[in-house]
Symmetry: C2
Amino acid sequence: MVETRPKIRLHVDAALATGTELALSAGQAHYLRAVMRQAPGAAVRLFNGRDGEWRAELTRLGKRDAAVTVRERLRPQAVEADLWLLFAPLKRGPQELLVQKATELGVARLQPVVTRFTDAVRAKPERLQAIAIEAAEQCERLSVPELAPARPLADCLADWPAERALLFCDERGGTPLAALLQRSAPADGAAILVGPEGGFDDAERASLLASGFAEAVSLGPRTLRAETAAIAAIVLWQALAGDDRPPPSPAAG
Amino acid sequence: MVETRPKIRLHVDAALATGTELALSAGQAHYLRAVMRQAPGAAVRLFNGRDGEWRAELTRLGKRDAAVTVRERLRPQAVEADLWLLFAPLKRGPQELLVQKATELGVARLQPVVTRFTDAVRAKPERLQAIAIEAAEQCERLSVPELAPARPLADCLADWPAERALLFCDERGGTPLAALLQRSAPADGAAILVGPEGGFDDAERASLLASGFAEAVSLGPRTLRAETAAIAAIVLWQALAGDDRPPPSPAAG
């Protein structure tokens, strides 16, 4: 079953259903023809974040345009872990890495937040979106994370949904994240907040701690770069509270 | 206390003791002068992986040479988690990222292994060593991971220390790593093995499973790139069995 699935996997915006004919983008046409050396008749997989994963057949392939016909559904849309990542914009390399890895690790929503010590040129959203789409296509997930526009941290806190836990990685220390996740019942949704290299200022930390929904967490004895801290926190959350979490064993109650 | 520690932190090979005068490398001289714009009299921190962390004073700073005098010890050498990472060589970008992040996350030993589907130009060891040293200097750890010469996987398995658990990340599935680490008593030392993008071949998998010391582990429902899988496995091991692990609570026995 696994072996017969087409290797090429593309994200599209359009609705997917048997028999639908779709035009692909110029970039996708180039990728299929020049990079993957495909020809009409080739099979691909498609997903759009809503309708599951589908097998489709390449019916036209020009230099700048391509079309497919959708054949049958291979996987239904699955419920994915509801984890947001809030991050202070970083330099280009670390930020692109962060978007790629957060996508691969199943983050549902990427929210850049501007903090007092944020010190980075903001990337073009289109560039980050393209990185997220490519990572989603390669890692077999059925959705692309939502990339929200950058907002001041204070604005995010002002209209925060109070039932969503906000775990902020604090260089000054906090509850070890793994211990926190092991002892509390996994919530339905959560968010991880990673500050800039300079950390949070005192007022930001105070307003987080006073919010009622935020908790300072720590990630071990070493000083992690911002993107590493974000990746580590996502890995731990997915493994202990998210969709990597194994079903509870009967003995554990 | 934290505020008075010099920001600049350098790895050296020489023994460290009060009063010792040391010559720094040409690269360190350039870094101090041209990048960090330091002058004689500036304070730096030094570590060598054996003698803890020391405050030192910059006594000479030329274009290609520099010297320091070691003043007092700031931290004793600590026992660090005994985790090895075995990885099939990757393309340059992902491999350099892996060495940087594994160092930051506290891996003690980096062992490139050649497997059947390994398909990458091997990087120069000097280059990987430089990346590991820079990452160690920045993350506050007191050691630089050992970078072992590349070996065939079969040779590594042939003289493997049987008391060291070898957790291999298998794309075909295995025990979820977090669950495995949560239910078994943390061992003193372990190793994580990540294969190439093509995975392990059947003979490699069979010899791993027959070894008695290796266990197949999985890292969740998505398909992770090799370097992401390695990072995720290291994060989980450190948090649940390594030196990020919080002390056991009295209630847990």
